[in-house]
Amino acid sequence: MGDERVGSEQGESEPPGTRGAPVGRRVFLGTLGLGALGVLAAPMLQRGVEAFLGGAADIDPTGLTGLLPNGGGFRYYSVTTSVPHKDAGTYRLTVDGLVDRPAAYTLADLKALPQTRMVRDVQCVTGWRVPETPFEGVRLSHLLDAAGVRASAGAVRFTCFDGAYSESLTLEQARRDDVLVALRMRDEDIGHSHGGPVRLYVAPMYFYKSAKWLSGITVTEDVRPGYWEERGYDIDAWVGRSNGRDDEPTT
């Protein structure tokens, strides 16, 4: 008796005699299959989409294509709630640690030093890439030489005025010609959202090494992992040879 009532409840909805085909299950499994197929076909699809959106972005006045996946352009990443704004009056860059002559540079001081301009691709470890982006600033090696690095030093640590981010390079990496303390990006002064007024620019590495809102350079004995590196990213972040990625090198 009880079973009969349950039976009538379960058959409550559809017209009698028409149980129908299990289309729902087919759609469900089909979606899963398409997802798997999408993963397999993604390298090909991605090239096509990037080419198409790259072309579309050039004639798109709204900038909405930049919001689409693979739509090109930079993405804003910050690890803190808010970042204070610094300008020519308030900005300072300190150089300290294992150096003979610690220093504090104002924005004007940095601008007065010899500037280097470089045009390379920017590659983020999350996948986006911005082609041929000009960066301009002071070579990091210049600041290190001016400070007089001691013989015991082996690494450089970078801190940021967002209060949380940090990065690091070996001394050898830091002395490379393509590592800048950048003041300009895309031939404009670096704006706040891109890490201005001063950010690090490490051309051959994934973009998380190019710390935004740079405020401190400390020469240390050993490499200390930076913010994302404590969260699993590689410390030696060569583009195409780290973080399990095989992007085309940027330098």
């Binding site: 409840e9 997802g35 999408g38 993405r75 095989d246």
Partner: protein, 214 residues
């Protein structure tokens, strides 16, 4: 004639009929909250304006990951309910009337007479099956990006690609789902309270024969 029939019916049958059990409504509520958090955190991670507004990337990533992982839990837990399992059975099966409903939908034919439906109409059935599949694809590709050592490297870039584009698609479809619910207060009442008006049921789901009246 008609009037007498109507009068007879109101005497015979209650005004409201049961549509969803508490277990089903809680499964829906739980899924909706988790999905909402997933979409919101995705926007914070992805759309530059929101990313600038919120920042705190590590925290937002953690919330997004764990809510995404938990997303299937309410429905899986709901499988313990016989009513939910029965409704899944109804969502699964497509009859000839569902084909008629879909054809009418494609033609933008809104007359109830050309939109025959059982407890669930064909659109709701497709939405249920597709969104369940899409959610699991999101979960799978998400896990591939989370546990980077799990799969070969090419897969991970590919997973990001699928995750990004499917997120956009899912967002649009989800907006459609919410939009349609906003346009139908009685359908919302059904999900909120568990019962719907008999008139509404006969209009929107003419082939539905609710057996347990409230």
């Amino acid at each position: 004639m008609n009037r007498r029939l109507d009068a007879g019916r109101t005497l015979r049958t209650p005004v409201r009929v049961r549509r969803f059990s508490p277990a089903e409504r809680w499964a829906h509520r739980g899924t909706a909250v988790l999905m909402g958090v997933c979409v919101l955190t995705a926007a914070f991670l992805y759309i530059p304006v929101f990313a600038q507004l919120v920042g705190r990337r590590a925290l937002v990533v953690a919330v997004h990951r764990w809510t995404g992982l938990a997303l299937p839990v309410p429905v899986l837990a709901g499988l313990a309910s016989r009513a939910l399992r029965a409704d899944l059975g109804l969502l699964n099966r497509f009859g000839p009337h569902d084909r008629r409903w879909l054809r009418a939908a494609l033609r933008r034919d809104r007359r109830p007479s050309s939109r025959p439906a059982g407890k669930f109409n064909a659109g709701q059935k497709l939405y249920a099956a597709w969104s369940a599949g899409a959610t699991l694809v999101m979960l799978g590709t998400g896990l591939m990006m989370w546990f980077t050592g799990l799969t070969p490297l090419v897969w991970r870039t590919s997973a990001t690609f699928v995750h990004d584009w499917l997120a956009l698609t899912l967002g649009i479809v989800l907006a459609g789902h919410i939009g349609m619910a906003l346009g139908d207060p009685e359908a919302r009442r059904g999900m909120r309270t568990g019962s719907v008006g008999r008139d509404w049921a006969e209009q929107e789901h003419p082939l539905w024969r609710p057996s347990s009246d409230r």
